[in-house]
């Protein structure tokens, strides 16, 4: 298995409706709820790249960018 680096977890703030699902369910607690409830990545380093947040997001507002080496 190639080594994976999590390049970024991006939130599309225009599409995100602030439901809080990603914040609540990310197994690694990567997000916090920021101003106006917009999720903010607080600890990218904790992210395992499981992509669950991407899958859960009802608004297709999350993109997990992974560098496969």
């Amino acid at each position: 298995m190639p080594k994976r680096t999590i390049a970024d977890v991006r939130i599309n703030s225009l599409w995100c409706k602030r439901c809080g699902i990603c914040v609540h369910f990310c197994p690694r607690e990567v997000f916090v709820s920021g101003e106006d409830n917009l999720p903010r990545v607080r600890a990218l380093d904790r992210c395992t790249g499981c992509r669950l947040c991407e899958y859960w997001c009802p608004d297709l507002a999350i993109e997990v960018l992974i560098d496969d080496e």
Binding site: L14, W15, C16, K17, R18, C19, G20, I21, H24, F25, L52, E54, Y55, W56, C57, P58, D59, L60, A61
Partner: protein
Amino acid sequence: MALQDYIRSRFFPHIWCVGCGHGTALNALLRAVETLGLDPSDIVMVSGIGCSSRMPGYVDFHTLHTLHGRALAFATGTKMSKPELTVLVPMGDGDALAIGGNHFIHACRRNIDITAIVLNNRIYGMTGGQFSPLSGPGVVATTAPYSTYDPAFDVMRLAVGAGASFAARGSTYHVVELQQLLVKAISHKGFSVIEVLSPCPTHFGRRNQQGDSVEMLEWLKANTAKLGSKAAEENPELITRGIFVEDERPEYCEQYERILEQAREG
């Protein structure tokens, strides 16, 4: 193709409420289509009327937004007339099983190669929270202020009883599983039904002490179990997820090809 290539991004953010399960279902469906590497020009999405039925507006397939309850009837014509198309039909619980129940059972019976995705939020979302034939007893709804007493259909039992050759249930909490179930449902040759437990925080959650979308997903996590799992066996109250039936039966359009041959021969 990337996920973004399958959507009409100019219409986003979509109209669904904060935390609506239908968005997550769309998400899983797009990933399933991506996994299968389908060409969007080979896909037709047909829907009825309801919140769930707004899905076609967001996908860059051939899309047909029809009438409440009738999606499968339109889809049957589309598929029969051009069998090489992949036909996906997202439906609400009321759409599929209240007004649309007859087309649903007949599609199951015929075994025509269409994938029906029943987005079950146990409520009429679009019209503001009336109960549906999937609400089940004890639910508070605008047309059941004293709570419902109507028994619910079990979509899996009904589909199987009507002759469906593929029937599966997933939930918007169990997203990876859901995507896999969708891949199987779409790949299945014949009629496939997939019921997606998809929370409506706005009309179901609020009135029925299930709270917002986060709490409703927690509920799904706590109240469902994999078919055949120990949890399911130990607690029959749990709603089971997984594939309920997966049969090989002659597909309808293929059967018609045989008639064509027979007729040509005389």
